[in-house]
């Protein structure tokens, strides 16, 4: 199985704060693939709300997303879109 890696930038005003973090985790849960987020040297499971919180990704932070699993393409597309839309905050 190949792994998909994407780079995204956090666009949201207060970064990945409570609301976008929740949206991210809820969406990630829809896919079977494993999903990891890396910021600098910190790598967390993207399906874990607490993990995403501890990332403390402020606006402008560049994150590396990894998707691995049978539906990795769909997952990658959906999650990258979420980041690009700023999690529907505007």
């Amino acid at each position: 199985m190949i792994m998909i890696t994407k780079e995204v930038t956090v666009k949201n005003r207060a970064g990945l704060h409570t609301r976008p973090a929740a949206a991210l985790v809820k969406n990630a849960a829809k896919y079977k693939s494993n999903f990891y987020i890396t910021k600098n040297n910190m790598r967390i499971n993207g399906k874990s709300i607490i993990g995403v919180m501890t990332l403390a990704a402020a606006q402008g932070t560049v994150l590396t997303l990894e998707f691995e699993g049978e539906d990795e393409e769909e997952a990658a597309r959906a999650i990258v879109q979420l980041f690009e839309d700023g999690f529907g905050e505007e």
């Binding site: 207060a14 809820k26 499971n45 874990s48 607490i50 993990g51 606006q59």
Partner: protein, 602 residues
Amino acid sequence: MAKNDDSSSIPLTTSNGKNGKNEKIFRGIAAAPGISFGLAYVYSQMEVVIRRTDITLGEVESELLLYRQALERSAEELEKIYDLAKEKLGESLAEIFQGHLMMLHDPVLTEAIENRVRGRLNKAEYAVASEFEKYASRLRDSADDLLHERMQDLEDVKNRLIRNLQRKRLTGTIEGGRIIFSRKLTPADTVLFSRHNVLGYVTETGGMTSHAAIISRSLNIPAVVAVPGILNEVNDGDLVIIDGYKGLVYINPSDTHLAECRKKIAEIENIAKKLETLRDLHCETTDGHVVELAANAEFVEEVEYIRQQGADGIGLYRTEHLYLLREEFPSEQEQFLVYHEIAEAMHPRPVIFRVFDIGGDKVLDSSAREGNPFMGWRGIRLLLDQPDIFRAQLRAILRASRGGNVKIMFPMISGLVVLKAAVDFLDGVKEELRHEGVPFDEEIKVGAMIEVPSAVLIADVLAREVDFFSIGTNDLIQYLLAVDRGNELISELYQEFHPAVLHAIRMVIESAHRNNIWVGLCGEMAGNPYATPLLLGMGIDEFSVIPSVLPEIKHIVRSFSFKEAEELARRALDAKTHEEVREWLIPLMHDRFPEFFTTTMT
């Protein structure tokens, strides 16, 4: 956030009180207004002590079952709290508990806990405590305030889960009509207690902006927070009075204080009934002179309360907290979302956004501190030198102005050149937006804050450049009288009725009206009920006050005729000293409004 000094755990006074017990009075931060008395309920959150206990291999499955049952019970509790919070507080504050639910069900955490039980044969409660602690310590180390708040949430979820593992009931039964004393209060505690007809909250920690304080205010339950050491002083069942206006807590109050308190409560109830009827009425004198009555605001959470209080708008929206919360200037988009939310929530009533009024110490590093920051690089002076910051904020405000109810105000205006520079800068930003095709209110109104004495003296010149003035009395009085109100040695020289202050206000009003612009007053003086008839009579067009006093000020305005207010204003302007004004004004107001001035407003 206000700081309390360490001395507040020492009783302010002690004297012989009821039943031979000593009356003790403590001061904290007044976090939610109201007065009540009743018996103390000392709520000690269990200090959950979890010792490492291991199980045998044969016990693994039953231990995991216990863990899953505890998860389920915790989730049920949280769902209930969420529903209750949604009903009592509305969706946005209730979201805290949605967050708790997500943490509870976090798959990574759950898996780690289960693995620990299976692999290391830890008892579930120890596994829960250890796994939560891993994350908590990461959040604790972070410098980010918001993350600290999240850590509190994580802690709440952990404690809930462990309590359910230990099969303890929720908080036991709180008898109705108690005043809760606690080290701290979680948002969940605050919501749940409110079902038991809680009369008030006193906590050792917290501040004005903690979740619990905001929730108490929306639930209308008096609260005093940041009273360190109070738990060592109060016993379960002690008779206590809590004054959420002044931030005072009386333990074993004297008969005198108790009688005073009963009287105040009765009066407050009466007033509240009376004032309710005012909510939808204009702020209008008996002879038909209408003024705007707006509120000062800082947080999105306040808007609901402000609307309930019947405000005509927000006369001063302070934007500094956006910076102070994060120790860096928020982005345009981040600001836009906040401004947009406020403007929408108040629509069609106006919202006046004051651009960042912060001092140079926030931008300069500590080696470049100014000797006299109050007369230094602050407000508009700083913004004009930091065009990126200024541009981002103006763009955000302009973008939020599409609904047509947004106005902009510049602080620290001391002369025409500075004001013109600010207005020109704004015009440049508008042009940018037009060029980009970004819509905003082309008719947006711009005002100058009048808070520097020089601006008073040249108000005529300034009035030609703007659409309105707003007099910031807090700073104006300090600058005019050269009195730092925070300096206890001279604080009695800070005088709202000093003739220089009254004449300055009148000059500004006259200059504004001569130039056909309106003028408001957004300092604390606007919410001082004694000053109401004087300001009204001098011709102020808008009062912008702290939301809690809004109905009282409206009631006072509605009780005077404009003619009478004008006479009182003239009389005050003729006085030679602050004391001379107070000598007749105070008895006059007490006579006129006996119900108010014995209570909360002094």
